[in-house]
Symmetry: C2
Subunit: 429 residues, 2 copies
C-alpha cells in the first residue's frame, strides 16, 4: 500500500503512476484461442468434447453436453433454504431495478409530414458465460440473466465449465431462478466458439455476455462481429471517499472486500483526515489476520492499495474522475453533494450504511460494472445491453418534396449522384 | 447479381451462402498499426508529423497540426449558400431527432428505505475521425458530432487527413455548424493514437467515433480499452422489400444508391412479384449507364446484389431477420404491418416516398448504422453512445438491517468472507 498526499509537490507524478499501473496480466493466449475456435467451427460438438476432456478432465457425449432439467432440479434441491431465499430476494430486487430501465419507443409526425422515431427490440438470443471453479458466482448469473429476461430475450443459453465434473449447485439454482433456458457444461474458448458459431447441440446466439479468464476474454474479442459481446471485464476496484466521520473498521472491511477478489484488485481510500488514514491502515492489517482469503487480499493491498490524503474532500473530485472507479463509496456528511459532482464512476454507494457488498448481491443495481478506468466512457450492464434500437422514417409525398432538394444537394456535393438520383427520380427533378 | 426463389428446394443453401459471404477485404495492417501507435506514444507530435509527411505528403509543424478558426471560417465562406442551407436543415433535423433520445435519470426509495437509481452523464471528451479524400462526407460529421453535442459532451476533437493539403471545405463547415471544438489535419492510425494517448498538441479523449479505412479500424480496435470506440463499420447494405405496387425505376435507383458506395456494398431486393423483379433488374442495367460511379456500383451489384423471390412478402420476415440489414426499405401497402414484425434491422424506411438517401442526409435519424448483420445485436449511433450511466445506492441503517443478512449469506456461499464481513461488521452479526 502506498500513501500519497495531494499537497506534496511530487503528488501529480505519483498519482499519474497510480493511474497508469497495469494490473492485468496479459497472458499470450491468442494463438491458442484462434486454433480452438477454428476447430469448433470445423468439427462442432466433437471439438468441444475433445477440449472439455483435455481442459476439464471430463468425458462428455453430445447427449450429456447439456445439463438436464432433472439435474438442475436436483442441484437446486441440494441447496440450503437460507441460500435459496437469499437468491430469491436478490433476484426480485434486481428485477425491480432493471424493469425501470426498459426504454420507451418513440414516434412522432413533424410539421412537414415526416413520421420518425425508433423502436427497441430484444436481442433474439444471448449466451451467458459463467466461470467454473472458485469464481463461479451465483450472483453473477442473476446479474447477467435477469436484465436479459427483463429486456425480453427469448432464449438465454448458459455455459459453465465443470472441471472434473464438479458443479456449483447454487449456480444451477440461480440459472433456474433467473429463467435461463439452456445450460451446457462446457467452458473456455471452446464454449465461446460454440455459442458464436453453433454446433449440433448448441445453437448459435447473437450476443455473448459474462466474465471469464484470459482464454474466454481472448475468445470473446475474436468472435466479436460474428456476435455481440459485453465489455471485457478487468480486475475489480473500489475507491472510498471518507472524512473523519467514517468508522475505520468499516472502511477497512470494505477495502478488503475488494482486495479479496483478486491479487490484481485495487482498493483506494481518499480522505481529508490523517487520523482516519492511520486508523484504516491499522484496521486493514488487523482484519487481514482473520480473513479467509488473506493471501489474495494481502497481495492486492500491498501491490495496488493506496491511501490518498487530500486537503478537502472536494479536492478529490478531479482525482475520482481521472481514476473513474468501478465502485465509489462516499462516507461523509456531504455524500450527496460530492456524488453530484462526480462524472466518472461505475456505481456510487452513498453513506456509511451502504457497503459495496450490498450492491454485489441484493441492492438491485447491476454488479457488472466498467473496470480499469472505462467508466470514463461506458456503463454497467443493464437492460439496454440486451436490446437494440431500429430507427423508423416515413415520408409522405409532400414531405419528400419539402426535404428532397436538400438531400439532392448534399448527395451531389458528396459525389454520390446515385443518392441524389434516388430522391430526384421521385420528384421529377 | 444472383436471383433466388424461396420456393426452390435448394433455396436454403443459396440463402445461407448469401448470409455468410465475406464482403470485407481484411488487409493485414495490424503489425504496421501497432508500430505507428507505439511511435506516437513514444514521440508524440513528432511521430504524427513524420507519418503525415509520409502518408499524406504534407509538412506540418506543431503549430499547424490544428486547423485554425480562421481557416474554418474561410472554408465555410467558400461553400455555396445552397450547400450550407442544406447542411443547416440537416443539422436542425438531426438535432431535434436526437434530443428525444436524451435518457432520464432515475431515483426512488423503496419500502425498505433503500434509495436507488442511476444518473446519466456525458462522456468528458470525444474524438471524431473523419476520412479524407473521396469518402470525406460532411453529412457524417453532423451524424457523429450532433448527437455528442446533444448528449452534452464538453469537448469534441475532430481529426481529418488532408492528403497533399487538400481539405473538403464543406467538411469544415459541417464541423463548425455542429459545434466541433477542435479540428486537426491528421489521419490514419497516427491520428487515432494521438486521440487515444495524447500529444503535446492533441489532448487525449475518452472515446473515439467515426468511420475510417483498414488502418483506422485496426487502430481503433487496438486502442479500445485505453478509450472507448464506436462500432467498426463495414460495407454498407440495403434490403428492399417491395410488392407489385412499387415503381421499378425508384427501386432500382435505391439499389444503386447503395451499390455506388463501395464495390463491397450490398443491395438486395426481396419481392413477391416476378414482374417487379424483372423490371427492376432491367432498370438497374439502364440506370447504371448514366451513373457517375457506375464502375463501383456495377461491381457491387454484380458480386453482391441479389433479387429474392418469395411467395408472399410475409415470408420474407424471417429472411430479413437473418440478414439483419443496415437499411430496410419497405415499399408495399402493408409496410407498417410488415415493419412491425421485423426484429433485426438498423433502420426501416417505410413507403415508396422514403428513399434511404433521405435518411442519409435530412431525415433526422442517424445514418451511422450497424452493418454486416450486427443489427442482430447492436443499434445505430445515438445520444446514448456519448453518455454513460452511474448506478446509485444508499441504505439507511434500517435498510441495511433488512437486506444485510441475505448479502452475508450469499457472500459466504461464494467463499467471499470479506464481502460478508463488510456487511456483518455494520450489523454486529
Amino acid at each position: 500500500m502506498q500513501r500519497l498526499d495531494s499537497r506534496d509537490p511530487d503528488f501529480e507524478s505519483h498519482f499519474t503512476r497510480l493511474l497508469s499501473v497495469k494490473r492485468e496480466v496479459s497472458e499470450d493466449v491468442d494463438a491458442a484461442v484462434r486454433d480452438i475456435i477454428a476447430e469448433v467451427v470445423a468439427r462442432g460438438d466433437d471439438a468441444v468434447i475433445d477440449y472439455t476432456r483435455r481442459f476439464d478432465r471430463l468425458d462428455l457425449t453430445p447427449d450429456t453436453i447439456r445439463v438436464s432439467a432433472e439435474e438442475i432440479e436436483a442441484a437446486t434441491a441440494s441447496c440450503s433454504a437460507e441460500a435459496l431465499d437469499a437468491l430469491a430476494l436478490a433476484k426480485a430486487r434486481i428485477e425491480t431495478y432493471h424493469r425501470a430501465q426498459v426504454p420507451a419507443d418513440h414516434r412522432e409526425t413533424d410539421a412537414l409530414g415526416v413520421t420518425l422515431g425508433w423502436r427497441w427490440t430484444a436481442i433474439e438470443s444471448v449466451g451467458l458465460y459463467v466461470p467454473g471453479g472458485t469464481a463461479s458466482y451465483p450472483s453473477s448469473v442473476l446479474m447477467n440473466a435477469v436484465p436479459a429476461k427483463v429486456a425480453g430475450v427469448p432464449r438465454i443459453a448458459m455455459v459453465v465449465p465443470t472441471p472434473d465434473g464438479v458443479t456449483n449447485p447454487l449456480v444451477l439454482a440461480a440459472a433456474k431462478l433467473a429463467g435461463v433456458d439452456e445450460v451446457f457444461r462446457v467452458g473456455g474458448a471452446q464454449a465461446v466458439a460454440a455459442l458464436a458459431y453453433g454446433t449440433a447441440t448448441i445453437r448459435p446466439v447473437a450476443k455473448i455476455v459474462g466474465p471469464g479468464n484470459a482464454y474466454v476474454a481472448a475468445a470473446k474479442r475474436r468472435v466479436f462481429g460474428q456476435v455481440g459481446i459485453d465489455m471485457i471485464a478487468g480486475p475489480s476496484e473500489v475507491l472510498i471517499l471518507a472524512d473523519s466521520s467514517a468508522n475505520p473498521e468499516w472502511v477497512a472491511a470494505d477495502l478488503l472486500a475488494q482486495a479479496e477478489h483478486d491479487t490484481a484488485a485495487q482498493a483506494i481510500l481518499v480522505t481529508d483526515s490523517d487520523a482516519l488514514a492511520d486508523a484504516v491502515a491499522a484496521a486493514v492489517e488487523g482484519q487481514l489476520k482473520t480473513l479467509r482469503r488473506a493471501e489474495i487480499a494481502t497481495a492486492s493491498w500491498r501491490d495496488y492499495g493506496a491511501i490518498v490524503r487530500v486537503a478537502r474532500l472536494a479536492d478529490a473530485i478531479p482525482l475520482v474522475d481521472r481514476l473513474a472507479p468501478e465502485h465509489l463509496e462516499i462516507e461523509s456528511h456531504d455524500a450527496e453533494d460530492l456524488a453530484a459532482r462526480v462524472r466518472n464512476a461505475g456505481a456510487i454507494f452513498l453513506g456509511a450504511h451502504t457497503p459495496e457488498a450490498i450492491g454485489d448481491y441484493v441492492g438491485g443495481p447491476n454488479h457488472v460494472l466498467p473496470t480499469a478506468r472505462s467508466a470514463r466512457f461506458s456503463s454497467g450492464l443493464g437492460v439496454l445491453d440486451f436490446m437494440k434500437r431500429t430507427s423508423l422514417l416515413s415520408c409522405t409525398p409532400e414531405a419528400l418534396r419539402a426535404l428532397g432538394p436538400a438531400a439532392v444537394t448534399l448527395g451531389r456535393s458528396e459525389g454520390l449522384d446515385g443518392h441524389a438520383r434516388s430522391v430526384a427520380i421521385r420528384l421529377n427533378l
